[in-house]
Symmetry: C2
Subunit: 502 residues, 2 copies
């Protein structure tokens, strides 16, 4: 059995008084740090450059504003009640801290339906299955059928040293037949698992099963390539059960904000971070001008590409790490439609359609099933594909999403209403999706950011092995609060008169 | 692409007046028939033996009553707001009529989380993995790893005639490596997909992956046997997306009831069904005594084992079919717990734990995640296992569920509060789970029930290829309404003065 320690409320015991911590960024990491530090008796000030909290934990709804570095600010115009999550949209069931804070802060959750055998694979312009909508279940079950048939034959012919006893090998053969849906001759000839061409029904309607796709066709259309296969369901983080916050993932950020309102300064853009002998001094500007604020310690949660452009007196190791750690290029577009044709016409309820073109993925909403309107995520792409779409204007991105999307769903033409796109690596105050390490950057640069630089601690998903996940922000915040509190309480024991009260 | 016609509102056009249809049974089939016949202008009377509607579409909540044929009536004593679905608990996304009626009647739906990689396989007293909680993901990914490794080797060694070109075979090899999570040498050495023994986290916690289970251990503990493998996710009907009605599946029945209240006679037990020259006459008894009611036609939705014990003048073919079609033996027990330990301690949110003992399955609730209390379905079993548990007293069933269940969840001891069990093949007015055909009964007996016997039509899931599913009731009801209405309107054309008005 694999164990996982239950998530408990954070309790570091001993409280302190009279300590002021400046937190840079009112994203999940910054707000969690402030929330837990408050409980321990600290006074916190959170500086947030945006006019909203949440950082990348951001749901786009009517009135949402996005500023990308080469474009004017865009305003979302969606119908009331409709939203899409521009940032994190999924909570794995084993991300205990994320679920812990949902519970502690009273944020209701619902299943995010990440696995949907009824969604499509769509290979644009490739192979014999080019431009056809292939249900995920067709490919999954055809491939299982063909590969189990092959292995079954190899075992039957003794062409295989499985290292198993004859009796065990027999059980594997039975399993293969079950796994693949093989017939009595251990051949794959399609099964109901891949769906029907005529549904079973009442009376004399037993249903009719179609022919499987040919293995060579599946291969030549690229449906075994990483574009399609295995991209979702198998990854530990993407295995069902998955959740989302009811009403938008930003409800988690809003729940923290509610607890922390007096401590958050919005529209406060940090311009300089200075370690001083007794603490840290931050210069920031807001509508009223430039300000300086000092604290005993500082927790900096700014994404590294943002931090990289802020004056500081960090050590060389820290500066290098800030400059060299890469961030993911990624973007999403939300498309509002008059009618949930993906449900009504295609019987697709949640889940993901995968494509080999620049869309990469179409996400169907996991909320308000059977209702009238809805927002699809028309693309969710990464790396080069995200770079290409990111360089387009808002109008061109919409055009791309509609042109490619209508190949899968011709209903786009009639039902489309409005779009809103976010390119994270161009979005002001984020400048990237998430910290994306390779073995080299993890080894060489990452460790420098795990220790405080003088009085400045660093926190965020980029300082974890849970990159891209909200859980990273939570875990990192707790880790830094633990370290900071340990240092403060140790100082108090060593230097009881040194201004630490309580 | 596999097509599925969209579900439309039922519109048979032409209305009739002055026709009275008697419907036997206020389950989903009976109420759907009445609902649609009402729209067409018919007058309906629904006779229902129970004091409630819904039949097997039944959620057990505080105050629910169950009468089994060898036991006193039991009353459920659960906390307010908690329930479990004794009958159907899942709606496949492709059961369009079920979703259609949810939409038309305003019954909100939520995801039924049927697939959960975090639930357990538990092999009691069998093999090296005996009595261990094995996460589904461990078995799934270990088996994928071992079998893809085997096939990969066979292909590499040319021990296999796959009929593929060299280039295509290379793609299959790459796919196998991805599918199985093989390492660079195409060997399976465990991967993060099977979970961690130490979760990845902040700072210096990359997470730690455990060793895979040995293939021989998996086999010898029976984890490749049908008890465990493939029982859920692959079946067409059990593929995600799946749904349930919010607040209990009985909300669907209650929504029909609301529309049909004036036409339903509860507590009306049918004792005799007679075809007459001009219609049908039904004798039924209620608290006040015996009554006779006549109609132009009758739709009988009573389960066949119930119908088998009611006096009738059916034809020989129909009588034989009623007697010979088998019904599934099946039962469930709901267990109320003080605390959702399966979520808090085990991170299991919805889904199913499979066992090789008489429990067969433990269902975790797909509603009220993160809340305080909850009801588990402590067993959901079939055939011989259901026969054995069905023969126990209510107290003995509870004892069995607790004794076997605590092997998986020792928290049962401390957290258990109350139970309620239903054995369908012993439950009065149902006497079985659902129609269970083999090729012989489907061929020999089934067809006789698809035609009307005189003025009596038969409807229900047992008259479809959607046995056990609510969709069967809906499809069958529409099918019979179509046939009945066709006959009535045809008669009207042929015999315009024969009492058919409008």
């Amino acid at each position: 059995m694999l164990k996982a320690a239950p998530a408990h409320a954070f309790n570091l015991g001993e409280k302190v008084e009279g300590k002021h911590i400046i937190i840079l960024g009112a994203g999940l990491a910054g707000m969690t740090a402030a929330y837990e530090l408050n409980k321990l008796g600290y006074t916190c000030t959170i500086l947030e450059a945006r006019e909203r909290t949440g950082g990348r934990c951001w749901s786009i709804r009517n009135g949402s504003l996005n500023t990308e570095n080469d474009k004017p600010t865009a305003t979302a115009v969606f119908d009331e009640g409709l939203y899409f999550n521009a940032g994190p949209s999924r909570i794995p069931h084993h991300h205990q801290l994320t679920l812990h804070y949902c519970k502690e802060l009273g944020v209701p959750i619902q299943v995010y339906n990440n696995v949907n055998e009824g969604a499509y694979y769509f290979a644009e312009g490739k192979g014999p299955l080019s431009n056809k909508k292939i249900r995920v279940r067709e490919v999954h079950n055809d491939i299982r059928g063909y590969t189990t048939e092959m292995l079954s034959k190899a075992m039957d012919h003794g062409n295989l040293d499985s290292g198993l006893t004859k009796e065990d090998a027999e059980k594997v053969l039975n399993y293969l037949a079950a796994e693949g849906g093989l017939n009595i001759d251990k051949l794959y000839k399609a099964s109901a698992r891949r769906g029907y061409i005529e549904s079973p029904g009442a009376g004399d309607k037993p249903g009719k099963i179609g022919d499987p796709h040919k293995l060579a066709d599946i291969i030549q259309s690229g449906l075994l390539d990483p574009d399609f296969y295995n991209v979702a369901e198998y990854t530990y983080e993407l295995q069902m059960t998955m959740f989302q916050a009811v009403g938008g993932m930003d409800q988690i950020a809003k729940a923290f904000e509610k607890k922390l309102k007096p401590f958050i300064r919005l529209g406060a853009e940090v311009t300089k971070i200075t370690n001083t002998p007794n603490g840290a001094t931050i210069i920031y500007k807001d509508k009223l001008g430039e300000h300086s604020i000092s604290g005993d310690m500082c927790i900096c949660t700014l994404p590294l590409p943002v931090l990289s452009n802020i004056n500081n007196n960090f050590s060389g190791d820290v500066s290098r790490a800030i400059d060299y750690v890469e961030y993911m290029k990624t973007g999403k577009i939300g498309l509002q439609f008059k009618r949930r044709f993906w449900e009504e016409d295609d019987q697709i309820y949640g889940g993901i359609t995968h494509t080999n073109n620049d869309l990469t993925q179409i996400f169907y909403p996991s909320y308000d099933y059977l209702s009238k309107k809805g927002i699809l995520i028309g693309y969710y792409n990464f790396n080069d594909k995200a770079k290409r779409t990111g360089e387009l204007s808002y109008a061109e991105r919409e055009k791309l999403a509609l042109e490619k999307g209508r190949l899968v769903h011709p209903q786009y033409d009639k039902e489309f209403e409005k779009s809103f796109s976010v390119t994270w690596h161009k979005t002001k105050y984020s400048m990237g999706g998430w910290g994306e390490y390779n073995s080299e950057t993890r080894k060489t640069y990452y460790p420098a950011l795990l220790k405080p630089d003088g009085h400045i601690y660093f926190a965020g998903e980029h300082l974890t092995y849970l990159n891209a996940w909200m859980a990273g922000a939570f875990e990192s915040a707790r880790s830094v609060v633990t370290a900071l509190h340990g240092r403060v309480t140790e100082q108090r024991i060593k230097y009881p008169a040194a201004g630490v009260k309580g």
